[in-house]
Subunit: 286 residues, 2 copies
């Protein structure tokens, strides 16, 4: 490959034309989270990505999942079931305008970044509202299409967040418990469930407790990481075909057997009575 072709390939394969959605939840433009979001917009735009930001507080994004998310009559008002009603509404094009617009952004995106301060070991409520209301049955998953066969399996996703606690508190010996455990319901249960290739989380440990120099270094490292984000290897999850739908989606005996002599379990959630694979929810290739 000569120099010009190589450059063209880079431009086509890695840079030009990628679409990025940043789902952002912080109240203040002066926050570290805002700076992290702005850095992502700048670095990715400079790589010719098209970047859209859903700034949830500024949008006053609705968090509560209600019948108002459906235009017109619901099927069963007395026994309202959000998953079923939104599936029917999605099929009929009757989801509310704010949900439809977020679903459009998500459909177009090659990479989704969730940027937020961790609130109570999870995303802030307004971001949980985005998850509850945008990732509807039919649009984002179905009984047939989930996990490694999920609808968004060609998309990448990343949690990028600040903590209040120091890193030591979230270590496997720390009082908050292993961050890998805290990440499991978010990364496996929401993101991988919809098929996303989950990239390692970007964790900004307690930026409010460090100097502005350290915060600057954190942002510099973040910018560097983003330059290569489309080449990153995603985290490992157990493929759907390792489970048997006939037995309530339990691990197949042959998979269990294959892993019986190994030191660690398969993942944080599927640990086979063995130690968790270290940093399974934090690092690719483990």
């Amino acid at each position: 490959m000569n120099k010009i072709n190589k450059r063209m390939w880079c431009v086509r394969g890695f840079v030009t034309g990628k679409k990025v959605l940043i789902v952002y939840a912080h109240q203040s433009p002066g926050s570290f989270n805002a700076a992290a979001k702005d850095a992502a917009v700048e670095v990715l735009t400079a790589q010719n990505c098209t970047v859209e930001v859903s700034d949830l507080y500024t949008m006053k994004f609705t968090a509560a999942a209600t019948a108002e998310d459906i235009t017109g009559e619901v099927k069963n008002a007395d026994h309202f079931c959000y998953a079923e009603e939104t599936k029917l509404a999605w099929e009929a094009g009757k989801l509310s305008a704010d949900i439809t617009e977020e679903q459009r952004k998500l459909t177009e995106a090659d990479l989704v970044v969730f940027q937020f301060p961790m609130y109570w070991f999870s995303v802030p409520a307004i971001m949980k509202g985005w998850i509850d209301r945008v990732l509807t049955l039919g649009f984002a998953y179905s009984d047939e299409k989930r996990y490694s066969q999920g609808i968004f399996k060609s998309k990448r996703v990343m949690l990028s967040f600040t903590t209040g606690s120091q890193e030591s508190m979230f270590s496997a010996n720390g009082i908050n418990g292993d961050m890998n455990v805290t990440l499991w319901p978010l990364q496996n249960g929401i993101l991988h469930y919809c098929g996303f290739q989950v990239l390692a989380p970007q964790i900004f440990w307690a930026p409010s407790r460090v100097s502005s120099e350290v915060r600057s270094t954190m942002l510099k490292d973040w910018r560097t990481r983003l330059e290569g984000v489309f080449g990153e290897e995603p985290l490992s999850f157990t493929p759907l075909d390792c489970f048997d739908g006939e037995t309530g989606f339990q691990l197949k005996p042959e998979v269990h057997e294959k892993h019986a002599t190994r030191e660690f379990g398969l993942t944080v959630g599927i640990h086979l009575g063995k130690p968790l694979p270290p940093n399974n929810q934090m690092k690719a290739g483990v």
Copy 2:
């Protein structure tokens, strides 16, 4: 103790005068969650408990944590930090009326029950909003008062929820991963962090996938459990004094050593590179 005294003791010690807060999140009065909530109100009221229900959807409870939660001026509008601003507002009696009212209910309660359908491996956004906005710094926790020394250590709490998935999918071999892992950030990170004695969760496995007879049995079992709820042993968590504040709240070496030869780790989150204690987040006394 003669018969009359024994009855009196039961009335005083177990039944009369206890206050219960049910934080409830379902859109429909015809739902299984509504039936579970109604059963709890009935059984606990019949035991002479005073029961308050925060019906979040009916209240149109605000989920998003914003500067509007503070009456009057905030300290730093440009660098708005929700935890710090709500701490100051709480001290000054300037939290919004809806938060103040929920804090009153919580202060008075001996038992708090969260009744909800599990959405995306966690509580629905409207309930996360209750958690984010009501459990404010100063009122619900501080650097000095948390975990086993937490502010609500004389109170009991329970998660009572329905799932969409069958139980097998949330087993340690199941595709959703171990339910104990999913419960850790909720039960340790939110509830135990504030000091609560966390009772075993009441999990209604996929009521929408079973017959009405099975659902009736589920509710009957729930009613029976509630009759003895003030006598239940809470789940186990590692006491605060096992961690060393000087080393970033890592487990003290002597505690680590004491557990070195044991088969299982301390908890789901603090597993010491060993298998998780089976059902540590589901059953008392393990």
